[in-house]
Symmetry: C2
């Protein structure tokens, strides 16, 4: 990857709006100049519309192997989870690495330059730690390096199989015994090129007394704190029954609701939950395709933003990996829920998929084509059958992942003509890795 | 286009299931043999998974020029309609032809081999008929011929601007004065290669007394009878206020609810409406992307199917033109509405997009890879980043339009390697046609 590089964007979406003939100069992975109409010199030309790199704020990489394999027999979120557990039982550090690098490569090809991996598959199938207790985490770091995506590893505390219920079966792979075990493992984890953050799996999987210590780790290490929040009504019911509080209230009570908190899903909230998340300046990470696929429901996105929360987007279980479909899904969910069009301006949708998403992954300068930002660019074809005729600032609502032509990460060209420069065509390799996992 | 042609499908979805190495022999546009494992001889090889051609059961071709141009200012269905009217005012037979041929070409490239064009843009801007009263209809026929798609022209009776309200402004282009005017125009319309059907725009736009004559025309001419039904609660309210009946009840009362009826949207229905549509053996044509984009809501699809109605799919205003996204949208809508996964089996979803859709367009043998069916095939890449790893029968839930590699219509190869064989890359031409319309 070149240390210094210039890109000539035929057209770019800058913070001040769409501009033609923009030269973006990068050095050491950072944008050091943005010039409109400057002499392009020997700059590499990016055709179409250049957007900042997208953030995939919520990912479980291994779930990718479930795509197109869980629609046969009906069921609910909970029956889907059983299939996911069968998959979780099969992985080891090697197969996890081989699968994840291609999932991350699919993300890069779709325009994601940064991912938050919500990682809980820590130990051997019977719960015994690997000789290197963070072997699975290291596999993810190596996978992200190979694929060229910026990784924020959200190492997840997962202690119980439900409130007051022990971990059973494959869940034993997730657990560190108690929160001290989690803290101990974290203290020995040097994630190399990745950024490290903390995650509370959910109030189902982390007892109330353990919430504070995880939150403290995040605060002390200046890392984001992610948590699955109120994805299903059953979680709310269980939390109320056990603690007499909503999950949001419980997090708040234990110091786990701050500006660094990223509440994933945030689907079934009370209006007081919304106020609380907004006052904390937390981020709500919606995963619209997953929330439809898993029949979760449609959360109160507009209300959260109006209350002061930020919105981000993730592809979660990867039924699709496509920032544009998540953007459209967020807006469509709002429209279906309220009977109103244009619930978010296109710029607000782009912010969710870029600026707010990167910030939620501990990269507060990301997601802009601007001085000092990470040098991540995504060039989208504006003459595809899908994007033809769209106004430039509305292309985020009409493109899809296949319209991504070029992707620059950390100043280097990583996707060119739709193909990953290091790995080549990702599809066939992904097929092989997925077949290997199920074999 | 060759009169006789053989295709070797690497893998095909036949009525009995997925089979490898299938030779499909076509003559005069019809499938005359389907052989599994036969000697392929000189057959043209179709890679990936070959599906029957999709039916786009509800289209307003000219709305394509609105894509990516209506998300700026919020609003409702009704404010969107105002922008659509501005567009409708600009078209004449020439520009309509130039736009529609590329919209139809985009459809073919996405795997649609048949389209139902719900056509109401009949006359000059002030309502005066063109010298040839069906000039606009003929423009659509010519456009479909150029693009190579099978067209069912659903010529639409549109008489009022609301119940008891006159047509105003651009609406005058839609009207034939009264139902006798519509019948008169229809009697002079020879649509050449297209199939002709009838449409009642809606109970808002066709007075109760005119419903019977339109339905009779359809019955006498053995054509389908399409109607926008209960897309918005406001339509139901107006109909109840004027007639004391739901729109479904009103259609039923006037003989416009039969097995040939295609109720488009069918979003806001009573349970008695659902029973009535089911008993009639009508088809409900859902347009999930449009119904989300226009904030219509999510209709009772599963209940309609269970009641005896058929389900079909359309891209309507063409916010996207993608059979896979409509399939997914139908299933996702159900999941969001009910909290259950797998509301439709993948085979049921494919039936909606193929067999039921073609039947609703007056092509009852379409949508199957089987003896005697129209020779329409769609080869989908199963090794794209999107489809990699999917089970073959679930690819309809993971692919998108960009994964369509080849399309055969009427026995001839029309799309090859994702490109339209006659027109070349559709995107740039479409951009030009759309810009021309708005200029």
């Amino acid at each position: 990857m070149p240390v210094t590089s210039d890109y000539l964007c035929e057209r770019a979406l800058l913070p001040e709006g769409v501009r033609d003939n923009v030269v973006v100069s990068c050095a050491e992975g950072t944008i050091v100049a943005v010039s409109v109409g400057a002499d392009p010199g020997a700059a590499h030309r990016l055709a179409g519309l250049v957007l900042p790199g997208f953030a995939n704020t919520h990912s479980h990489a291994f779930h990718r192997a479930l795509r197109g394999r869980t629609h046969g027999g009906g069921g609910t979120f909970w029956t889907w989870r059983e299939t996911m557990y069968q998959l979780a039982a099969r992985l080891d550090p090697d197969s996890y690495y081989r699968l994840a690098r291609l999932v991350f490569a699919e993300m890069v090809g779709a325009g994601f330059t940064s991912v938050g991996e919500f990682h809980y598959l820590h130990h051997q199938p019977d719960g015994t730690p690997y000789a290197e207790p963070n072997a699975m985490g290291h596999a993810l770091v190596r996978a992200a390096e190979d694929a060229g995506i910026r990784l924020t590893l959200l190492d997840t505390c997962y202690l119980t199989g439900g409130i007051d219920a022990p971990l059973i079966g494959v869940q034993r792979r997730f657990g560190d015994g108690d929160v001290l075990g989690w803290l101990d493992r974290m203290s020995g984890f040097g994630p190399g090129s990745a950024r490290l953050g903390a995650a509370i799996h959910s109030v189902r999987a982390v007892p109330a007394a353990a919430l504070g210590p995880v939150a403290s780790w995040a605060a002390e290490n200046d890392g984001p704190l992610h948590v699955h929040l109120s994805e299903q009504p059953a979680e709310n019911d269980a939390c109320r029954a056990a603690y007499g509080r909503t999950p949001t209230e419980l997090l708040h009570e234990h110091g786990a609701l701050t500006g660094a908190t990223v509440a994933v899903h945030a689907t079934h909230l009370t209006s007081s939950d919304i106020t609380m998340l907004g006052r904390a300046g937390a981020t709500a990470c919606f995963c619209p395709t997953t929330e439809a696929d898993l029949a979760d429901g449609i959360g109160p996105a507009r209300e959260l933003l109006d209350a002061g929360a930020a919105l981000a987007l993730g592809t979660d279980q990867h039924a699709v990996i496509d920032p544009f479909l998540e953007i459209r899904g967020l807006e469509h969910g709002e429209r279906l829920r309220t009977g109103q069009r244009g619930r978010f301006a296109p710029a607000e949708l782009l912010t969710a998929a870029t600026v707010a998403g990167h910030a939620a992954l501990g990269r507060p300068t990301g997601g802009r084509i601007a001085l000092g930002a990470p040098a991540d660019l995504v060039a989208v074809r504006t003459d595809s059958p899908r994007t033809a005729g769209s106004l430039p600032d509305q292309v985020v609502l009409t493109a899809n992942s296949s319209d991504v032509d070029s992707v620059v990460v950390d100043g280097g060209l990583l996707v060119d003509g739709g193909e990953h420069c290091r790995l080549g065509p990702v599809g066939p390799l992904l097929t092989e890795a997925i077949n290997a996992v199920w074999r």
